[in-house]
């Protein structure tokens, strides 16, 4: 057998070692992002999640007004944590619509009463059907939608104070 072939196992082992060591020192980002960023919002029509507030239709996003689409649930702890940031965005004049995932009207109403209500419309997604259509994999998530109904950005996880200015600029800048 050729001389160098004897070193093949050692080389293969070194390659595996290098691979896992690289992964260990710089763990890969495991958040699953939506592939629809940059594409049109899929069509949907959701009934109202709470009495006294309109439900949500995808057509409402194509009227030339950029806005945020917040995915939340009353049973989700980080959703409560990001409420001040959403309130700040609403105060800054950013229109926000929302989808409540697997939620009951009375729970959503209690959540809004307690943590504030920055939303213009809230659609009820009882079976995550719209969430799945959006490529969203959890709550809370916030999508930036431009005036033509195109998804500009997906923010995964709760919004932090530093996200407010950035998202405001992004929505104001979108057409």
């Amino acid at each position: 057998m050729k001389r160098w072939l004897i070193w093949l196992p050692f080389i293969a082992f070194a390659a595996v070692l290098w691979l896992v060591a690289a992964e260990l020192t710089r763990p890969a980002d495991r958040t699953v992002r939506s592939r629809l960023v940059g594409q049109a919002l899929p069509g949907f029509s959701l009934p109202a999640a709470v009495p006294g507030k309109p439900g949500l239709d995808a057509r409402a996003f194509r009227i030339g007004e950029p806005r945020l689409l917040n995915i939340f649930a009353s049973w989700c702890v980080p959703c409560a944590a990001e409420a001040p940031q959403l309130a700040a965005l609403a105060r800054a004049g950013v229109p926000i619509d929302a989808i409540a995932i697997r939620d009951k009207p009375e729970d959503v109403a209690r959540f809004l009463a307690r943590y504030g209500d920055p939303f213009r419309a809230i659609g009820a997604d009882q079976t995550s059907a719209v969430q799945l259509a959006l490529g969203s994999s959890g709550v809370p998530e916030t999508f930036v939608i431009d005036g033509q109904g195109r998804i500009v950005e997906q923010h995964i996880g709760d919004l932090r104070a530093e996200d407010v200015a950035r998202l405001t600029a992004l929505v104001k800048g979108a057409r």
């Binding site: 050692f10 260990l24 495991r30």
Partner: protein
């Protein structure tokens, strides 16, 4: 005090391991005979000290000493004694201590009982054992001290993950560890043989019982682990191609190949380099497995304490030992004389085919398990799961089954195709009959399941064929072992294929009083009641099951609530009948008061684990036969 004694024993054991390594090095570099002779007693001392440290940790857990951090984090005084003891290895530190303890005891055992191998390769082997032990002692002492105290002892501990509070856990990890340690012994023998350039039948005979023993424990560990996942995870699956499962499968595949190649080396003095390489690969697979499980770089469904910093330590040890051994292999193997070569059609040829196919499966599993990391290096998130492994490894596994059926019927050294065809006539006829039966009666689910059913029948007949025409009373024990192990593969394969082909599933939302059917059974949901255990409370569903006119029986699946730590688990209720298992799971209730119920009728699924047990039994018989023959030879030599 017990904890401090344990820590002291651990430090002493580490010092002794260092001494063992140094003495072996001096002895091999032309030291005096006294130095050579000193290595054995040192190895025994190291084993005793490690055992002492381990017993100290057991004592601390049994007494629920809440001043020890590990006990606080993993135990609770209300736990039953069995789980207080199994809690010792139900965590990272304790399981590593168990690992080095078994390693130390194995080193002591080699030092005490191995007398056939020349003294120099033996001392080199013990030196390698010392080096391995030293690394793991350092890991324990510097990165995962099991005896660390807490400043303010709490009133009670945090408890053990409820999923782990199961008799399965009490035995599953220690069994796998025994297997891993056995492979480390094989590795040390290989390193010893490379260092002393003494690769031959004597080396193979010394290594074989350790490989066989490791393989028995790995087989038992995987079988038990599979059954444990089957009834604990509550979805009726018994193998998920999960990284943690693959991590336990890979050493087994390597050990299976090694087991067969070591036989070729022992009896025919062939496959020298290959056997040494496999011994290194087998141990490296057990270490890579440990690394994958502990470092958390791959996500797994199986609960494990994950810590990247510890992963780094294991990785460094891995690089040192396996990299070192592979480099040694590359440098030395050229100076080892090539072994005997074989005729294509011979038992040796069959065993080479066995090794080839097993190694390819091993490679496929390894690449499939690591490929998500490769993809992530390119910025792509990828999942590699059952569809890949079934498609890529399944056909090779079936080819291996064919080789396994024919192999034992081929003669050593040289055989004739026509003679072999004559011996294969009955198994081939059985395969043909099975094919007809499967085509006529079995539902077609996949090529793999149908081919599995057919080949299982053929293999079952072929595996007992080596016994035909022999005086059974005079057949050597290791031949019986081979026959039973191969029969076990057939039984297990039948179970897997039957589960894939015949399983019936019923998923419903039912109110108490409703009746549903699954397979040949009528199942009535009688209702629910609360139930209590030592450290849990539960809601228990009651289902009356009737099959035809037979007497009804009752299944009681539970939703269990643990307070420490607060968790809900669903406990499947499984009825084992002669022809399969009925599996019931109670899920949540919906707003309308209907309960989610999952029922599976799994014909012959038990064969999977019964086959695994048979394989291990075959290994045990074989080991017994080898030991007995070695002892006979030993006595003859002295007579």
């Amino acid at each position: 005090m017990i904890a401090e004694a344990g820590l002291a024993a651990l430090w002493l054991a580490a010092a002794v391991a260092l001494l063992q390594l140094v003495l072996a090095g001096v002895a091999l570099r032309g030291g005096q005979a006294e130095v050579l002779a000193a290595v054995r007693p040192v190895a025994v001392t190291g084993g005793v000290l490690a055992l002492l440290a381990f017993l100290c940790l057991v004592a601390v857990f049994v007494r629920s000493d809440m001043s020890v951090l590990l006990v606080v984090e993993n135990s609770h005084s209300a736990k039953p004694l069995l789980y207080r003891i199994s809690g010792v290895w139900g965590n990272h530190e304790g399981s590593m201590l168990l690992w080095v303890t078994v390693l130390g005891l194995a080193g002591a055992a080699i030092a005490r009982i191995e007398h056939r191998l020349d003294e120099r390769p033996l001392v080199a082997t013990l030196g390698a054992q010392g080096a391995i032990a030293l690394g793991f002692f350092a890991f324990l002492l510097f990165a995962s001290n099991p005896f660390a105290r807490v400043a303010q002892p709490p009133a009670n501990g945090l408890g053990l993950n409820p999923l782990l509070q199961d008799p399965g856990l009490a035995f599953h990890p220690p069994t796998l560890y025994l297997g891993y340690v056995g492979l480390s012994v094989a590795f040390s023998f290989a390193v010893g043989a490379l260092v002393t350039r003494d690769v031959g039948p004597a080396f193979a005979r010394a290594m074989r019982p350790w490989v066989l023993g490791a393989w028995i424990f790995l087989t038992l560990g995987i079988t038990a682990g599979s059954y444990w996942a089957y009834y604990e995870l509550g979805w009726g699956g018994w193998w998920f191609w999960d990284p943690v499962e693959n991590a336990s499968l890979m050493p087994w595949l390597a050990a299976t190949a090694l087991l067969h190649s070591v036989t070729v080396l022992a009896t025919r003095d062939g496959l020298r380099a290959w056997t040494v390489m496999l011994a290194v690969v087998a141990f490296s697979m057990s270490m890579i497995g440990t690394f994958l499980v502990r470092s958390g770089i791959l996500t797994s469904v199986h609960a494990f304490a994950v810590d990247p910093s510890r992963g780094t330590f294991i990785l460094a040890l891995l690089a040192l030992y396996i990299g070192g051994a592979l480099a040694l292999f590359a440098l030395r193997i050229g100076t080892v004389k090539t072994g005997t070569t074989f005729e294509l059609l011979s038992r040796e040829g069959g065993l080479v085919l066995n090794n080839l196919l097993l190694s390819v499966i091993l490679g496929v599993v390894l690449i499939g398990t690591l490929y998500p990391i490769v993809a992530s290096a390119f910025g792509v998130q990828l999942s590699v799961g059952p569809p890949f492994f079934d498609k890529a490894a399944g056909p090779i596994a079936l080819a291996l089954v064919v080789a396994l059926a024919a192999g034992p019927l081929v003669r050593w050294r040289r055989d004739r195709w026509d003679a072999l065809a004559g011996r294969l006539l009955v198994p081939v006829a059985a395969t043909g009959l099975a094919l007809g039966a499967v085509v006529l009666f079995a539902p077609f689910k996949s090529v793999l399941s149908s081919a599995g059913l057919v080949l299982a029948a053929g293999l079952a007949v072929a595996s007992v064929a080596p016994l035909w025409g022999r005086n059974l009373a005079r057949t050597p024990l290791f031949t019986w072992g081979m026959v039973i192990a191969h029969l076990g593969v057939a039984v297990s394969l039948f179970g897997m294929a039957a589960d894939a082909a015949f399983t019936r599933e019923t998923l419903i939302a039912a109110r108490p009083g409703e009746q549903v059917g699954v397979g040949p059974f009528r199942v009535t949901f009688d209702g629910l009641k609360p139930a209590m255990g030592p450290n849990w409370s539960a809601l228990e569903g009651r289902f009356t099951v009737q099959r035809g006119d037979a007497a009804p029986f009752v299944l009681r699946p539970q939703q269990r609530f643990f307070a420490q730590p607060p968790t809900t688990t669903s406990e499947a209720s499984i009825a084992t009948l002669w022809d399969g298992q009925l599996y019931a799971v109670l899920g949540n209730a919906d707003a309308g008061g209907r309960w989610q119920v999952r029922l599976w009728w799994k014909p012959f699924v038990t064969c999977i684990w019964a086959g695994g047990a048979l394989i291990a039994l075959g290994g045990a018989l074989s080991l017994l036969g080898r030991i007995r023959r070695a002892r006979l030879r030993h006595e003859e030599a002295w007579a």
